[in-house]
Symmetry: C2
Subunit: 244 residues, 2 copies
Amino acid sequence: MSKLAAQPLYRQVLREVMVAIEAGEWDEDESLPSETDLGKRFGVSQGTVRKALDVLVTDGVLYRRQGVGTFVAGTSDFLLRGQFLSLAGRDGVKPSVDLLGCVRIHAGEQLAEILGLRRGAALWQVRRLLRVEGQVIGLEEMLLPEANFPSLEIRRIRELKGNLRELCWRDFGVRLKDGEVRYRAVLAGQTEARLLMMDVNEPLLQLVRLARDFDGKPQVWSVAWLRTEQLAFEPPAQFGAQAG
Amino acid sequence: MSKLAAQPLYRQVLREVMVAIEAGEWDEDESLPSETDLGKRFGVSQGTVRKALDVLVTDGVLYRRQGVGTFVAGTSDFLLRGQFLSLAGRDGVKPSVDLLGCVRIHAGEQLAEILGLRRGAALWQVRRLLRVEGQVIGLEEMLLPEANFPSLEIRRIRELKGNLRELCWRDFGVRLKDGEVRYRAVLAGQTEARLLMMDVNEPLLQLVRLARDFDGKPQVWSVAWLRTEQLAFEPPAQFGAQAG
DNA sequence: CACAAGTCTTATATAAGACAAAAGATATAC
DNA sequence: GTATATCTTTTGTCTTATATAAGACTTGTG
């Protein structure tokens, strides 16, 4: 391991592992080499590798199974992380996704500023429909700078089953890190009502998120509108060892 | 440290530290003994203590400052964790709280089941109003079993500035752990509209949470209704070492 | 005396190595 | 053939040693 950096060893290991993942060295749900082997490779102890992997596990990049191995976590999709729960019940469901379309638009002033672009910059707008048991339950819209994702094709999105997150780093080398989500309650407008097959002025749960890459650069702006008459939305459980 | 338990050492330490905190051995923002000293006390090494504290830090029970010490985190209040952001802006504000009242009601069937009580069991209903810059922005309602919190007095709640969380473990020894929050969009009804000084059928962001104690027993059911015309709600950032 | 630079003490933070526990795979007994 | 033991590989736990950070204290200097 290079000595030049003034960073702790485990941070350097963390970085290297992250790079390897980004390079596609191990596929999704494929096991990494054992902590011991990674230790040999980087010239550090198993414990140090472990500490690095700990961070990636709590970040959701990896998951572990004792006695078996450490695996690359599926690059689960944007706002879809999280589940829907019936108002009384305890068991949640994940929605299925239908790609609606992918068109080229231009950034408004606000959006341009948020994404760090000049006004009027070209953007891809991708829209998807969320369903639970056939019922349309949500609409999701993502905006990506064309500069960073030059040849975004709907065909390719379909190939990856609409998983934009996966696509971003497979085809463009951009590994996205989730940002904070903001919640609002809004009334359905014309567009939403039409796509979600509901009446206007019905309440919708709106989620907004800015996803950045691991260098902190803004990459994807996404907004979702969810119908919550029958189901409530629950964001993904955050990790960290369970207390008790 | 007692050897009887078939749990890892650091879990036992974790438990003991938690008990000590619950017993009020160290006040809010007061530093714990050093990791080394705690190690002596429990008969384990500094590293083991550290691992236990790690969990409590990511759980938000403690916080650390290198070279200084480890401190008991303030028992910040329920749904108030989280902040409000103006729709464009990036800097959030925390709302101020006004206690509306505390009355004794009886559990309906559903609520009784959720809280693990018999139907019709007595509950305390506490209501609070949230304000940002004077503007009423939210209503919060909490329901606590009278059995576990026998003498809940509005005077006492006021004393602790409406911080129910603090009150729960100061006066009743119940340390609450946050549960997952569920989100919905609803329309304002008569009651909400009146208390929030708005029209009926305006959209409201509804947050529902079941808070349990550290033994997993359900303790407090809370619901909040938030106006999000001007501001969006952002839940608290979850911890875990920052990647890099 | 005032003030800044060094250094001492006490914290947390990191690293390595030894060992334990869990999960599969494989061999063995019956 | 099937159940049970044992072997191997992997993650998980724990200790010891050392590094780094932050204040307090000391000391030199105008």
